[in-house]
């Protein structure tokens, strides 16, 4: 039985620009002692996933549902007070991103480490302090540190304090939210070694949130790749790191500059999408090198891409001249040919252009049909749905990945 089984977790925020789909239907399961690394670029929803699991929600939550089974119990059914008392920190604790900010500057660190004991088990102050000393020792800190204030400690020491704090109640799952991103390389290695050690001795389950694939590989048994609020690929580290299924995972791996290989890193063109209006279909299709008709180009995206193509110098002579374009529906658009071109002429030119460059300009693959009207040309695009996440042990959400291949 998995320690933690997350099913279709959803967390949307309300903002002035519209709803933000920070976490969109995420599922994964974690066995005891297993570590999942959630990897993604900034804004991909990694931290929101952690917050959603611990139910640490901001005030502007729009939608929050799904199932989180912890130790066989669906904790989403608990009231806030029950959740606070039984799950938070007792069952699932967290190591925060910026350790220097996660500690109260005005309180001695010993008290901060011991505080959960007093809050959750009503342990006497002195006894809690004793236990805190044990945990501090376990994470490799000297005992006298308990009486110091956070600003008197170095970054690495503070991070150890935060780890001690997360361990004090002996939780089953610890969420590590970028635990080393603010630390130096050496300190980072020391912390990772500590976490590795704790994982092996205490059989802890980690949810390791990071943007660094190299770091992820240090701890991960499972890897989950997040993109624009979705978990697009999740599978065993041995597989995902070696033969990624999703094109995005592949590109992400290729973008890591490696110290032990001469292979030049490559970048992913474009930028992650705006989560207030995620693209239809597969959310990665705009940047995907292998996108094709099913990936979900919308008429508006098509127009934007066409505009870009027109304005960028290189393809200028090849693009048939266009006077204007307008979206008619999400999957069809009207193109008015440029000044002196007739409609039929234009259709021909366009078809030729598509045939010639669709490998390079993948969005052209989304054209289902081109029809000449009286004054304009109607371009119909393929209709499509977001790709389902397929597979069992190793799943990916891409039309190019089929169940059989898994």
């Amino acid at each position: 039985m998995p320690t933690l089984d997350v099913k279709n977790l959803v967390l949307w925020y309300r903002t002035r620009k519209g709803p933000v789909h920070a976490v969109d239907s995420i599922s994964f399961a974690l066995e005891p002692g297993q570590t999942i690394a959630l990897v993604g670029e900034s804004g991909s929803g990694k931290t929101s996933t952690a917050n959603a699991i611990l139910r640490l929600l901001p005030k502007n939550v729009l939608r929050y549902d799904g199932e989180v089974e912890f130790d066989g119990q669906n904790v989403m059914e608990l009231t806030d007070e029950e959740f606070r008392r039984n799950v938070r920190w007792r069952g699932i604790s967290m190591v925060f991103q910026g350790a220097m900010n996660a500690l109260n500057p005005a309180v001695r660190v010993g008290f901060q480490v011991a505080e959960p004991l007093m809050v959750h088990y009503d342990v006497d102050r002195d006894e809690a302090a004793d236990q805190a000393l044990d945990v501090l020792r376990k994470v490799g800190l000297p005992a006298d540190i308990a009486r110091r204030y956070p600003h008197e400690l170095s970054g690495g020491m503070k991070q150890r304090v935060v780890i001690a704090m997360s361990l004090i109640l002996k939780p089953k799952v610890v969420i590590l939210d970028e635990p080393t991103s603010a630390l130096d390389v050496m300190t980072q290695t020391n912390i990772i070694n500590l976490l590795k050690d704790l994982k092996n001795t205490d059989r802890l389950s980690y949810i390791f949130i990071t943007h660094d694939l190299g770091l992820a590989s240090e701890l991960a048994d499972l890897v989950g790749i997040m993109y624009a609020g979705e978990l697009i690929e999740v599978g065993p580290a041995d597989g995902v790191f070696v033969r990624p299924k999703h094109p995005y995972t592949g590109k992400l791996l290729a973008s890591v500059p490696r110290l032990r290989s001469e292979e030049a890193p490559d970048f992913i063109p474009g930028a992650p999408p705006d989560l207030t209006a995620p693209p239809p279909g597969c959310r990665f299709h705009l940047r995907c090198p292998v996108s094709f008709e099913k990936c979900g180009w919308s008429a508006e995206e098509f127009i934007a891409q066409m505009d870009l193509l027109q304005s960028s110098g290189e393809a200028k002579d090849k693009v048939p001249s266009i006077a204007s374009m307008s979206a008619k529906s999400p999957t069809s658009l009207l193109i008015k040919p440029g000044a002196n071109g007739s409609v039929s002429d234009f259709v021909q030119k366009l078809n030729a252009f598509v045939a010639a460059t669709s490998e390079k300009n993948r969005f052209l693959k989304s054209i289902e049909s081109v029809q000449g009207k009286t004054k304009s040309v109607e371009v119909k695009l393929y209709e499509t749905t977001p790709p389902p996440i397929v597979g069992t042990e190793w799943r990916a959400a891409c039309w190019l990945v089929t169940e059989g291949a898994a």
Binding site: W89, V119, Y149, H151, E152
Partner: protein, 404 residues
């Protein structure tokens, strides 16, 4: 050690500033020798009248009269040092003021008919202190409580409404509220007296320490609550003890002590205190709300919540504690302004404290009293600022550690 050294430096600085401020006051007050001229005129007329009532003097020939008059006039001027050069005089005035040797009033007197300026001032000082301390403490406690509540309900209708109320009330000084409050509560509804210190003819003043119990009780209640809520388990009893002591004191004060004089005084204090509190609470609540909201965004507050602390504990132990040093500093000006703002508030309420004394002194042109009062105000400001410094350094452990 660090804190003591820091505070000592501040104290030295404040003393120097105080001396400079007094000197500035003396210079302004005596600018162009106006006050000296006024004093000389006064001596002149007094002397004239004195001689006019003296039949022996009247019998002297006019020349002799003039000579004698001049001799006594000049000797008085000499004795009071009025013909020294101003530069020299200004130092003497400053030195006198610093020693609280404020001279004699020309017209005003205390209730036991003393004309010494310090007697007059120290008769009035406790009244002002009591009124404004009570009002400011009430406003601060209420304002901070409201601000916390607003921050908790941030962006709700309650928060928006209260924020606008806070912002719009704190720009208006207490005396304007005083006018409106008297209009409403004293003349329309007739529930509170319009002003004055007491309604009965003033009884001989009892030891003023009796007026402080409510204050001390309030302090005890506050401290008790802090000890009870902030520290856990074994300190709870101590907290309870302090709370109990405060409550007992309040009970004794309210029930056992049948001091009509003070009760009447309190009855008269309600409206002015309410006006002061109403004009001050908004800045406490607005500042508290904003700072608390700011701190609530901090990671360590998030962490506290993640640790499973109750929302109430998060607010009191993490948020308020972190927000308190800036709350204290940002309100330094408010508090300091309250002292001098008393001049008009007390005038409106006819409350015979320092403020009304100032007004009376201006109306009667009693220069020594005016200068003396200005000195006392400067002293009050210095003490307030220093107390704020002390509070600040006690509240922020970072100062303690960094200055070590």
């Amino acid at each position: 050690m660090g804190v003591v050294w820091h505070l000592a430096k501040r104290a030295i600085f404040l003393v120097i500033t105080f001396i400079l401020a007094i000197y500035a006051t003396v210079v302004i007050a005596n600018g162009g020798g106006r006050v000296d001229q006024i004093l000389k005129d006064q001596i002149y007329t007094d002397l004239k009248q004195q001689y006019a009532r003296n039949p022996a003097f009247q019998r002297l020939p006019p020349q002799e009269q003039a000579r004698q008059f001049n001799i006594s006039y000049n000797s008085i001027i000499e004795a009071q040092g009025l013909n020294e050069p101003f530069f020299q005089k200004s130092f003497r005035y400053t030195f006198n003021a610093l020693q609280l040797n404020l001279g004699r009033a020309t017209q005003l007197h205390s209730s036991d008919l003393s004309m010494r300026v310090s007697d007059i001032i120290f008769e009035r000082l406790p009244r002002s202190l009591v009124l404004f301390t009570v009002a400011n403490v009430v406003a601060a406690v209420f304002g901070i409580w409201l601000g916390l509540w607003m921050a908790r309900k941030a962006l709700s209708a309650f928060d928006r409404g209260m924020t606008v109320l806070s912002v719009t009330t704190f720009v208006v000084p207490p005396w304007v509220y005083g006018i409106l409050f008297i209009l409403i509560f004293a003349y329309v509804f007739k529930v509170f007296p319009a002003g004055g210190l007491t309604s009965v003819p003033p009884l001989p003043p009892s030891p003023l320490i009796l007026a402080f119990p409510p204050l001390i009780a309030a302090g005890l209640l506050g401290a008790g609550y802090v000890v009870y809520a902030r520290l856990r388990s074994k300190y709870r009893l101590v907290g309870f003890g302090i709370l109990g002591a405060g409550a007992a004191l309040l009970l004794v004060w309210g029930l056992v002590l049948p001091a009509d004089y003070f009760k009447d005084m309190e009855w008269h204090m309600i409206l002015p205190a309410a006006a002061v509190a109403f004009s001050v609470f908004g800045s406490w609540s607005y500042t508290t709300r904003n700072l608390v909201l700011q701190v609530m965004d901090e990671d360590f507050v998030f962490a506290a919540r993640a640790k499973g602390l109750k929302e109430r504990d998060v607010l009191s132990r993490y948020v308020l504690r972190a927000a308190s040093p800036p709350i204290v500093t940002s309100l330094a000006l408010t508090l300091a302004a309250a002292w001098t703002g008393a001049i008009i508030t007390e005038t409106v309420f006819q409350y015979p404290g320092l403020g009304l004394l100032f007004y009376e002194a201006i109306s009667l042109f009693d220069a020594p009293v005016v200068i003396g009062l200005t000195t006392v105000y400067a002293l009050l400001l210095v003490v307030t600022v220093f107390l704020l410094d002390v509070t600040y350094s006690l509240l922020d452990p970072r100062i303690k550690a960094l200055r070590r």
